[in-house]
């Protein structure tokens, strides 16, 4: 089927259709219906994820008014000679047996997310929030919580938003921008941006080729669109060959993980395609190369594990050339500069520390992330931070966002134990021109020493910790100690 008739798409006025997807062939027939005669990799991936979650029931809202689709419809699809319905279907995934006789008794605990189906054969997958797969359990993930109401039952799902391109109005560049902006809306409180707003915001700059239907975006258009819509993106080159992925802070994994740690999902670009890195899982104690990355690829589906970024099977993914880093506008310092400063301070301290300083003998590495200061302070006690140290931090004036460079004990991390032995806290609005960013140092703790600096009078306070211990990371996105 290349197009649906309107009556096929809206067959009746029923509130929903319920499918028992444990019945042989049910998923296949659903995919055939929504994808038409053309395979849809994102739709097939959603079905794979549903199967991994053990989904038993699919509830389909048959007249869902999706704001993103409506915005695209008004700007593009509604202007075509061939008509497309203005309503979507929305799939809801449940791991229990939903009783079609009473849809007012849905179990929120069985909910695994939703996916909007656009009336576009071959590119049906619209706004999607699906629980991450079991393979990412224990990993560090960019995600946010979305709450919705289905027939009067409040439901919620925690995930990274996904959207596929339609290959005409939205291309991969638009889809990746939308995913990042949707996450920023849910996780950081930025205004919601619809797909048409993303399309329009990225029209600027030097235009090469047709914009409608879109032949794709330049990197400059993506950067401009992200800036217009409330982010302050950076751009950094990635090592394109394994042999160039040298030890140090500019490894491919090292760069990308800092932004995943920061709930700023990085957009990776090759020569012709873009995707979003949405999480990682540590597979060995090595920094950078010791992680397995996961991505949302709008043309292939959500939550796909990357076997090896330097040996991609698909031409579209070769090479991982650069990353667009979707930082919030309040954050002036980049992750790389923050980590360089933190490492600089720790190395200096360790090199002349007292002989009984425990961190001087540890094999240290660094874990860097930006976070809201108030959220970070609220969680100090539950992380096992020394009470006196927590008190010092809680009474330290801080900006809205701080960079935290944690000193991590590699051996403890490899064992899955609490692994943080210190941290440098850096003003996210510090000048990046006045090296070595010392004016940005708010506080530093390493082993026995904890020191904080007042912002106006430079009044310094210090505590000595008699028996410094390890505690768990303050990074969001991973509740398990030692996961990353």
């Amino acid at each position: 089927m290349s197009e649906w008739s309107f009556l096929t798409w809206s067959p009746d006025d029923a509130a929903a259709a319920v499918y028992d997807v444990t019945v042989d062939g049910a998923w296949e027939q659903l995919v055939d219906f929504y994808a038409g005669e053309t395979p849809s990799a994102p739709l097939e991936r959603i079905v794979t994820l549903a199967r991994e979650h053990g989904v038993r029931s699919l509830v389909v809202e048959q007249r869902h008014l999706d704001a993103d689709w409506r915005s695209e419809h008004a700007a593009f699809h509604g202007r075509l000679f061939r008509r497309h319905p203005s309503v979507t279907h929305r799939w809801h995934l449940f791991t229990d047996d939903v009783d079609p006789a009473d849809l007012t008794r849905l179990d929120p605990a069985a909910y695994r997310g939703h996916a909007v189906m656009r009336p576009l054969p071959a590119t049906p997958v619209g706004r999607t929030m699906i629980t991450p797969p079991p393979g990412l359990d224990g990993g560090v993930r960019c995600e946010a919580t979305e709450r919705l109401s289905l027939f009067g039952t409040p439901l919620e799902v925690r995930a990274m938003p996904f959207l596929s391109q339609d290959a005409e109005y939205l291309r991969c560049a638009h889809a990746t921008l939308w995913m990042v902006l949707r996450h920023a809306h849910l996780a950081h409180g930025l205004p919601r941006q619809l797909t048409s707003a993303v399309h329009d915001a990225a029209l600027g700059g030097v235009i090469v080729g047709r914009q409608v239907p879109s032949e794709g975006l330049s990197v400059q258009q993506m950067m401009s669109g992200a800036t217009t819509l409330g982010l302050s993106p950076g751009l950094v080159h990635l090592p394109t060959r394994a042999e160039n992925d040298e030890a140090g802070m500019l490894t491919l994994g090292g760069i990308l993980c800092r932004y995943v740690n920061s709930q700023a999902p990085p957009i990776v670009i090759s020569r012709a395609h873009a995707w979003v890195v949405v999480g990682y899982r540590r597979v060995s104690p090595e920094s950078g190369s010791g992680v397995r990355l996961w991505r949302h690829d709008d043309a292939r589906g959500p939550y796909l594990e990357v076997a090896d970024p330097f040996d991609e099977v698909d031409d579209a993914h070769r090479p991982w050339q650069a990353a667009i880093l979707p930082l919030l506008p309040q954050v002036y310092v980049t992750a790389e500069r923050a980590e360089a400063a933190g490492e600089h301070w720790f190395r200096g301290y360790v090199s002349q520390a007292d002989p009984d300083e425990p961190i001087a003998t540890a094999d240290l590495t660094w874990r860097t992330y930006v976070t809201r200061a108030d959220e970070w302070l609220e969680h100090l006690s539950s992380r096992g931070v020394d009470p006196e140290l927590a008190r010092l931090y809680r009474l330290t004036p801080m900006p809205e966002y701080v960079w935290v460079v944690e000193a991590v004990d590699r051996a403890a991390r490899a064992d899955g134990r609490p692994d943080v032995v210190g941290e440098a806290i850096l003003d996210s609005t510090a000048s990046t021109h006045h090296e070595p960013l010392l004016s940005g140092l708010i506080a530093l703790h390493g082993g026995r020493l904890a020191h904080r600096i007042g912002p106006d009078h430079a009044q310094r306070r210090e505590i000595r910790i008699d028996a410094p211990g390890h505690y768990i990371t303050g990074r969001r996105g991973s509740p398990r100690p030692g996961a990353g």
């Binding site: 291309r171 991969c172 560049a173 090469v208 080729g209 879109s214 032949e215 794709g216 975006l217 330049s218 990197v219 400059q220 993506m222 950076g234 751009l235 950094v236 080159h237 140090g248 802070m249 500019l250 670009i269 020569r271 012709a272 395609h273 873009a274 050339q321 650069a322 990353a323 980049t334 790389e336 500069r337 360089a340 400063a341 490492e343 600089h344 301070w345 190395r347 200096g348 301290y349 090199s351 002349q352 006196e388 008190r391 010092l392 009474l395 090296e435 070595p436 010392l438 140092l441 530093l444 020493l449 904890a450 020191h451 904080r452 600096i453 009044q459 310094r460 306070r461 210090e462 505590i463």
Partner: protein, 59 residues
């Protein structure tokens, strides 16, 4: 503010402390050179991304 009746002084944790720069070795030339070299590599990576992104069309 000091003259307003009822003001109570907040008890801050720890002791007054001196400059940290000495203990972090920030004045040591070799450490400064290493830090600047790192920042230079970061800047190079940013500039390289900028000029290598010319002509790319993402679809």
């Amino acid at each position: 503010m000091a003259g307003i009746a009822g003001k109570r002084t907040v008890v801050e944790p720890g002791e007054p402390a001196g400059d940290l720069a000495e203990r972090l070795g920030l004045h040591r030339p070799e450490q400064q050179r290493a830090f600047r070299a790192t920042l230079d590599r970061v800047r190079d990576a940013e500039l390289r991304a900028e000029y290598e992104s010319d002509g790319i069309r993402l679809r």
